[in-house]
């Protein structure tokens, strides 16, 4: 029968006392005593329960959870290895050390493979304390690592949720703001047209400022919406013919191209694996910028592509005002502008949208430029999707 909480007297010990709660699966009183003595000699103050079958084992496990299980391999009513099954069923990570008579190497390795922490022969009990110490140490490291992983997972979760909230907010805010803004824009414009010259000069000026402000707000809200939409909508990737997309983009920019006398040239563009609408937006923003930030000459913009391993690297180059190298990274930050509103229009979202699009589609974007000598924006996109790699092009 089991004896609860058998505590043996302290023996002479070399090492300082370490408290240890152990659960022994052993039917032989002498063997049990020998095990406990070996531990005591090496500085363990053991509080041990001794059990012989599965029912007692499970009861003791639940009532007094041990730090280590020491099990005899071969018992008349139960196999020591079956203790492992119970530990697993109770979802307990407690080291189990087999204490056994002769155990062939093959069997020993098999036991460890099945989950036993270690094994010690009954005529080699001097090893036992060290084995127990190592098992406890490893358990501690495991627990620590597990805790760290859990904390990390929680933080990642929080961050993802916070990001989602922000994007949701940006979307809702910009969406809901559009309606009242539409009213302000329409009516300030109407006021400007209807009453120009009919009130005093100050009135014209004031209405002008209000009107301008409203229109700028409209563009800003639309850009914010576009920016938040890139994050919200499902990116549906497919094989996209960039020549086709470029043609559409140039059509949308037709007015700006005509007005600035811009010339846009391009090499034969490849097919990429990306979201078509987003690629169109990307090209439209980059080429649009080339037209917008022009120098004294009419804009000359070129769109080129070259293969870089499994990806395509695009370059959109212009002959515009250029960017100082120290700002080359800043420009991709949302709302970051380098010029006064009176010099060049825009609110600094275009490139942030480009960056978001490129990264969402699995690529990178960067700028190479010098003030006064134009800019080149380079970005990469995958050439094909995951399955297509197998099919020959």
């Amino acid at each position: 029968m089991s004896s609860a909480g058998t505590k043996l007297g302290k023996q002479d010990c070399a090492a300082p006392q370490t408290k240890l709660r152990a659960l022994l699966v052993e039917d032989n009183a002498l063997d049990a005593a020998l095990v406990l003595r070996a531990l005591n000699k090496d500085g363990f103050e053991v509080a041990a329960n001794i059990v012989q079958d599965e029912a007692e084992f499970t009861r003791s496990l639940r009532a007094h959870p041990p730090e280590v299980v020491l099990a005899d391999y071969n018992l008349p009513m139960w196999k020591g290895m079956d203790a492992l099954k119970v530990l697993r069923a109770e979802a307990l990570d407690i080291p189990m050390i087999l204490v056994s008579g002769a155990l062939g190497d093959v069997t020993a390795v098999e036991c460890i493979r099945q989950g036993a922490t270690d094994y010690v022969l009954k005529d080699g009990l001097a090893r036992l304390p060290e084995v127990v110490r190592r098992a406890l140490r490893e358990k501690q490291e495991r627990s620590l690592r597990h805790q760290i992983e859990q904390d990390l997972a929680l933080k990642v979760d929080e961050l993802a949720r916070s990001n989602a909230d922000l994007e949701q907010f940006a979307y809702v805010a910009s969406h809901d703001l559009q309606e009242p803004l539409r009213m302000v824009t329409a009516y300030t414009q109407l006021l400007a047209e209807r009453y120009r010259g009919k009130l005093d000069e100050s009135a014209d000026k004031f209405i002008g400022y209000a009107s301008e402000g409203a229109q700028r707000m409209q563009v800003l809200i639309q850009d914010l919406l576009a920016f938040s939409r890139v994050g919200r909508q499902e990116t549906s990737s497919a094989s996209v013919d960039c020549n086709d997309v470029l043609k559409e983009v140039l059509q949308s920019l037709a007015a700006a191209i005509a007005e600035s006398g811009a010339v846009v040239t391009h090499s034969e563009l490849p097919a990429v694996w990306a979201d078509r609408t987003q690629v169109a937006q990307l090209l439209q923003n980059l080429i649009g910028n080339g037209i917008k930030f022009r120098g004294p000459e009419p804009p000359a913009i070129s769109v080129l592509a070259e293969k870089a391993d499994e990806r395509w690297q695009f370059s959109v180059s212009d002959n515009g005002i250029g960017i100082a190298p120290e700002y080359a990274e800043n420009i991709f930050i949302v709302f970051q502008r380098l010029h006064a509103r009176t010099e060049y229009p825009g609110n600094g979202i275009g490139l942030a949208i480009c960056k978001k699009i490129v990264e969402r589609n699995g690529g990178k974007i960067w700028a190479e430029s010098q003030p006064g000598s134009g800019s080149t924006f380079k970005f990469t996109l995958p050439g094909h999707g995951p399955e297509e790699r197998i099919v020959a092009q």
Partner: protein, 157 residues
Amino acid sequence: MNTAEVEILLVDDSPEDVALTLHALRGENLSNRVFVAHDGEEALEFLFCTGPHAERSFDPPPKLVLLDLKLPKIDGLQVLKQLKGDARTRTIPVVLLTSSREERDRIVGYELGVNSYLQKPVDFDEFRKTVKLLGLYWLVTNQPPVINVKSHLAGQR
């Protein structure tokens, strides 16, 4: 022509009227996206993707059907009835553009669900103006039932 890019289906058996209509649409840069059917049967084959048009798909649909009433094989009202009676084609904007002056035709047309009914002006210039306005109204002012035709095309590639 790639029938996926058709934006206007013109159903008319009069060669002169067809020529005049295409000329008027060309002024608005719309004439290369027009498919001409010369009788009611061909119009239905086109819209229901059967016969010679079996490889055409319902999506994207044309943004406008300009339909005459007096047509060989199957007349305009019959075509209209079938279009508006089928869920796959019911939302396609249909405009009856006809030389008929019968009040009855107009009422029946609207009862069958035609989106609008216009009489073909006899005067050359008026005809051109009418077609031009039709093209602009239904392709520019109006929002047709399918939004981004090109994204559908991209998915099909």
